[in-house]
């Protein structure tokens, strides 16, 4: 064993899994590997007859796990004096809420030949929106009977979350529901797989997923009580016993790397593995989230995360979709908001409408960079995948207004970026794949918000967050850290390059944002009436003014 210490962070995203080996001393990347999911549409199993459906086969997780870790270990070996024995801890994050129906041994039903082609037996990916009706009913029932449940999730239970999905499965595929002994979150499944604790009653569940997605709180004794779940369906009430009683923060060990998996991955057995978490929350940790700093993770969707000290009790902030103790940093309330689609909207425009690829992204970015704010006369709502923050409503859709017979692809592309900027005005630190790749987007975000935008030093904040918790569960004795804050202090930072707002552009964007808010409220807020007669006219006036300057 050398004097170096490393952590392995695994970040399971929507389309791929990323493995990162970080230097435990300073957080620097030693090696990174990415394994794409191979099934469906970039890993997503869709149903053309129902655009709400988005599932994944757990075999993609299994294959991606093996491939990415083998590759990252090989890469680390070739570039540094790295030895697998120097890995002191492993952390894992995944998308979520992505519940998976499993049998009594914790094996996903998707691996059972009876269900191998059954979409309902797959992992129900976070962005699956088929459970809208169930989510609405859960919200109604909670409003009537358990208002406290809704307080920690922004007042509305989402179609993207745990119980909506499980109940929808019961309603549309009762054979799958009946065959499932339990349901496990993706972020609980992977640590359990690695540590040989798959058996559902043994598996250590993430408080992040439990609290943000499954209405779990110690305040009311864990998950929603059986009486409440019986209001949904008595079979949902009966399921409660087969879920879990206790959830854990990520400074807790899920277990140690099993012999079986140590061999598969080429690592020594016994490395401590942290309790899993949702990707965005680890991304915030990897970007250095702390009190007073909001981290915005920009990817296919966007997640805004911050933390608040636990001493004053849970904060109540309108528009926030989740407030859960210990969910980001142990000892703090984790606070979450976000946008249901950001990169996904740009990808939709480029891939589906323009039939282009990453090169087309570059072309449109270049052309869109040459436009001034307001010049296109366009305004969009960023709701192609519903709205997660403030409105918390999946039954919303996209809107584009202001197009003429001359409107170009690049103008629409820019309007979609601006829409996502309007959609999330409170940003301080930014991480995520898109922020890295697109300076135009960062400048627009700075101009829209009127705030300086900083980039996380790491380009892999989620995986780094996972690695950080690997270092935490390793503990000081093994060369790790006693607390997540200490690990963050050593292992995170921001880049030198930042984006300053341009005052003139900010002024134009304030006017555009006023129009955005009116469309937002008109289509998104119940019983909100407005006279929208002037909207197109003001957009055309702004366009004319900017064009003739």
């Amino acid at each position: 064993m050398s004097d170096k210490r490393y952590c392995l962070g695994l970040d399971f995203g929507t389309n791929s899994v990323r493995a990162l080996i970080a230097d435990a001393e300073n957080g620097q990347t030693v090696a990174i590997a990415v394994a794409e999911y191979r099934r469906g549409e970039r890993g997503v199993l869709e149903d053309r007859s129902n655009s709400h459906i988005a599932r994944q086969h757990p075999a993609d997780y299994y294959d991606g796990l093996v491939a990415s870790v083998q590759q990252v270990v090989e890469a680390a070996r070739s570039t540094a004096k790295f030895l697998p024995v120097d890995i002191i801890g492993i952390g894992i994050d995944t998308t979520g809420s992505t519940p998976i129906p499993v049998d009594e041994q914790g094996v996903p039903l998707a691996f059972d030949p009876r269900f191998e082609d059954n979409l309902d037996a797959m992992a129900w990916l976070w962005k699956d929106h088929s459970s809208i009706a169930e989510a609405e009913r859960i919200t109604e029932l909670a409003q009537q009977h358990r208002p406290e449940y809704l307080k920690q999730c922004g007042g509305t239970y989402s179609a993207e979350w745990f119980f909506s999905k499980i109940w929808h499965c019961l309603n549309v595929a009762s054979n799958v529901f009946e065959a499932a002994y339990s349901w496990v979150e993706f972020c609980d499944y992977v640590p359990a797989l690695l540590t040989g604790t798959l058996q559902p009653d043994e598996m250590k569940r993430s408080i992040c997923a439990a609290g943000h997605k499954a209405m779990y709180s110690e305040e009311w004794g864990g998950l929603p009580d059986a009486d409440f779940l019986n209001l949904l369906d008595v079979r949902m009430g009966a399921l409660r016993e087969r879920l879990y009683k206790q959830a854990y923060a990520s400074d807790v060990r899920a277990g140690d790397l099993s012999e079986e998996w140590a061999q598969k991955l080429g690592l020594p057995a016994g490395i401590p593995v942290a309790v899993g978490s949702l990707d965005a929350h680890y991304g915030a940790v990897g970007a250095g989230v702390r009190e007073g700093t909001v981290v915005k993770i920009i990817g296919t969707s966007t997640c805004d995360i911050t933390v608040a000290g636990a001493r004053e009790g849970p904060p109540h902030i309108p528009g926030v979709c989740g407030v859960v103790q210990d969910s980001v940093l142990p000892g703090y309330y984790g606070i979450e908001a976000g946008q249901s689609a950001v990169g996904d909207i740009f990808n939709w425009w480029v891939t589906e409408i323009c039939e282009g690829d990453s090169e087309q992204h570059e072309v449109l970015t270049k052309q869109a960079s040459e436009l001034a704010p307001g010049e296109s006369g366009l305004l969009a709502l960023d709701w192609n995948n519903g709205n997660r923050t403030i409105l918390v409503d999946a039954r919303l859709s996209g809107l584009l207004i202001g197009q003429t017979l001359q409107t170009t692809r690049a103008e629409v592309y820019r309007a979609l970026i601006e829409a996502t900027a309007f959609g999330g005005l409170t940003i301080l630190v930014t991480c995520g794949g898109i922020a890295e790749k697109n300076p135009m987007l960062m400048q627009i975000y700075a101009d829209v918000t009127g705030r300086r935008m900083e980039l996380s030093r790491s380009e892999q904040t989620c995986a780094l967050g996972a690695a950080i918790f690997g270092a935490v569960v390793a503990g000081e004795d093994r060369g790790g850290y006693a607390t997540a804050e200490q690990a963050q202090e050593a292992m995170t930072g921001t880049k030198v390059t930042s984006y300053e707002p341009n005052a003139a552009d900010h002024e134009v964007y304030q006017e555009l944002y006023g129009l955005y808010r009116r469309l937002h409220d008109s289509f998104g807020v119940a019983e909100h009436s407005d006279c929208l007669y002037d909207v197109m006219k003001r957009l055309l006036e702004m366009k004319h003014k900017v064009s003739t300057q």
Copy 2:
């Protein structure tokens, strides 16, 4: 001279000129030729810094005239016992209001080397929208001082029309205005060119263009009086004397084909040429318009035309944008409504956004045909070029609502077609290029309106309408007709194929149309307030319902 009699119809469209030789006995096409305009973007001179600008160089008209007539005569010679001496009359229609600044001899300023590159000295194409401010001011002044002027043009004077454009030229390019002795409509220019009557005081002006676009009426002594025009600008008042005192219906001869032009075109001199008209109005004539029948001409834009007997005085119909005596058929009130962009919207989607060509139109049509009404969850407003009917407002723009991350090109294409169908619900007989080429569009129009759609027998109704007036000015003695009705009776008809509405689809479209009207009124009607919260939700419900049927 044989016993056959032929008429020549010339139809100057937005992108090309079409020449038709028709059998005067039955209206059958003998030969047809098309000459594309060569300058700018398919004949349209644009200014990227101001999307409102759309101009044309009169040289395109001149070149297109020579080329199309030479070609059609050659084609007629080769396919029948046709001889040029058997042409008994010539009729001409053009786009409009497309005013052209000319010198004292009636020669367009664009031919003067001083102005050859000056967009403001070109023909101001019908769809040029740069004169919005002037149109609004004319409307205001007429409301205050001459309300009668507005009655015959639907209550609002348009940015697309004669005086708005001339006044705007004065305001932005006074050197061009000062250099212009007079302004002539495109549809007056071509007959004058052919008959050697270019001199502005000699030229016979079209009552169709004068009445629908220039507030001309015998009721108030012709054009708006000088006192009124002085309210715009004293130089506008002074211009009145150099415009015209009298306008004529198309059963009047503009003159006879001059020796010079007879030689250029390969025709005998002396053939009578009818006073010109706007293309849509001749299209209605060529499709057999009569009392009780509305003709819809579907092209880059759409025009709905019908006629009403003159005995009861002018009819007052809300949403109609023009009622002018003798403008379609002499002895009747011509009634006009229409949509500012129809084919142009589909072309924008295919050309600008999808970067495709006519093949892409076919691909999208095929894919869109497979969709059921409501299945896409999309709804659009057809205002990419403003709104000409009911709202008469150029300061409107396009809107698309309901897009998800799965929305396809073909779904948007269909939504745009549906939007144009919603935009014009009162249709009985249809002609125009798009109607011929796209049975899906015809079926959607039938399903949206719940009415049977018939197609004009001729595929070139505008040119046929022009040929019909050629036969009228020829007169009975030369083998033509005494009246336009008699010529129509002999020379027009509808096709056997018609499109019947499907009851189930009509029902879905009635629901969609309800939502369309709410968006229409919300963005288009001053002081109209609505709560639009349910719109996206109802579209998603319809989509879900249709998808799961």
